[in-house]
């Protein structure tokens, strides 16, 4: 396995195996964020508007962590993947905003 056979090290950087540490951290973080979200609904005697924002933010943080670490979007060569996902998210969020606007205002 010499370096020039391996396209991932074409820029002179030898390929390094990533350890499982980031993946375990993402898993524990996901569990914690999920527990906070459930606890806010089950035990929290909180303002409805605050809970809705709190839940939305927890979900987005968890989704971003899973995309970045578990789906390797932090790695090199993911520029097009990020472009695709951002474009998809823009269209999805537009539909989402339209539905919320239609119903609530």
């Amino acid at each position: 396995m010499s370096a020039h056979q391996d396209p991932s090290s074409a820029e002179g950087r030898p390929y390094k195996h990533e350890g499982p540490k980031n993946h375990y951290i993402t898993f524990i973080l996901s569990i914690l964020l999920t527990m906070f979200a459930f606890a806010a609904v089950i035990y929290g005697d909180l303002d409805r508007g605050f809970v809705l924002w709190f839940l939305s933010i927890l979900a987005i943080v968890q989704a971003v962590f899973q995309l970045v670490y578990w789906m390797h979007m932090k790695d090199r060569g993911h520029a097009y993947a990020i472009l695709y996902m951002v474009m998809g998210a823009i269209i999805a969020l537009t539909a989402f905003a339209a539905a919320v606007y239609w119903m609530w205002w």
């Binding site: 990533e18 999920t34 899973q66 578990w70 789906m71 996902m85 474009m87 539909a95």
Partner: protein
């Protein structure tokens, strides 16, 4: 395609990206996932718009059982971890680790599906059927679509495991496992929004 018959001992460091075909497969799969974002985004939008339209039949607050949702969430989250461990085994060319972690992922996915079928069965008994209300229709469309994705993933990864028993780990089979892993993570990301928007926000009102 002459490099397709390399043995595991001579695989490059990231076998899924070793060929142009493999790299294109991953790029195309991201385009597919972006389309899935749009699909689920519009289903979420229609659910948000219709979730309080319940002229008859049980409402979200009466229906949902959060302890069961928590169990489903934990199962799917754990299966996402096992599929990333499979991808790490793939990078280390550990065929047994790859197949073992993928098999665990499939079993957890099947457990999730059994819970979901039981849940829908129970809801139907409580009068929450597909055509009961706009809420019920948008609920079953969104959550059912996600369940169908889990079912497809379970069947896809099962056939991949069976194929790899025969073909071994090569630069042809490696990209298939890599994109199957991406697909499985994506299913878990969608579930994060389902348990938040459908179940938890359904309880909040």
């Amino acid at each position: 395609m002459s490099s397709a018959h390399e043995t595991a001992g001579r695989l490059p460091a990231e076998p899924e990206k070793a060929t142009l075909e493999g790299r294109n497969k991953i790029l195309g799969f991201w385009l597919f996932l972006a389309a899935e974002v749009v699909l689920f985004g519009t289903l979420f939008a229609s659910f948000i718009a219709l979730r309080n339209q319940v002229p008859e039949g049980p409402t979200a607050n009466e229906l949902f059982n959060l302890s069961m949702v928590a169990i489903s969430t934990f199962i799917l989250l754990t299966s996402s971890l096992t599929s990333v461990l499979a991808t790490m085994a793939l990078h280390r060319h550990h065929l047994n680790g790859l197949l073992g972690w993928m098999a665990v992922t499939v079993l957890l996915g099947a457990a999730f599906l059994i819970l979901e079928i039981y849940e829908f069965y129970e809801y139907a008994h409580l009068g929450h059927k597909f055509a009961s209300s706009a809420f019920a229709t948008s609920f079953y469309t969104l959550v059912g679509f996600h369940g169908a994705h889990v079912l497809f993933g379970v069947m896809w990864i099962t056939t991949l495991i069976l194929q790899t028993f025969r073909k071994g780990l090569t630069v042809v089979t490696a990209p298939k496992f890599y994109v199957a892993g991406l697909y499985w993570h994506f299913i878990d990301v969608v579930w994060v929004f389902i348990f938040t928007i459908v179940y938890l926000m359904g309880k909040v009102g």
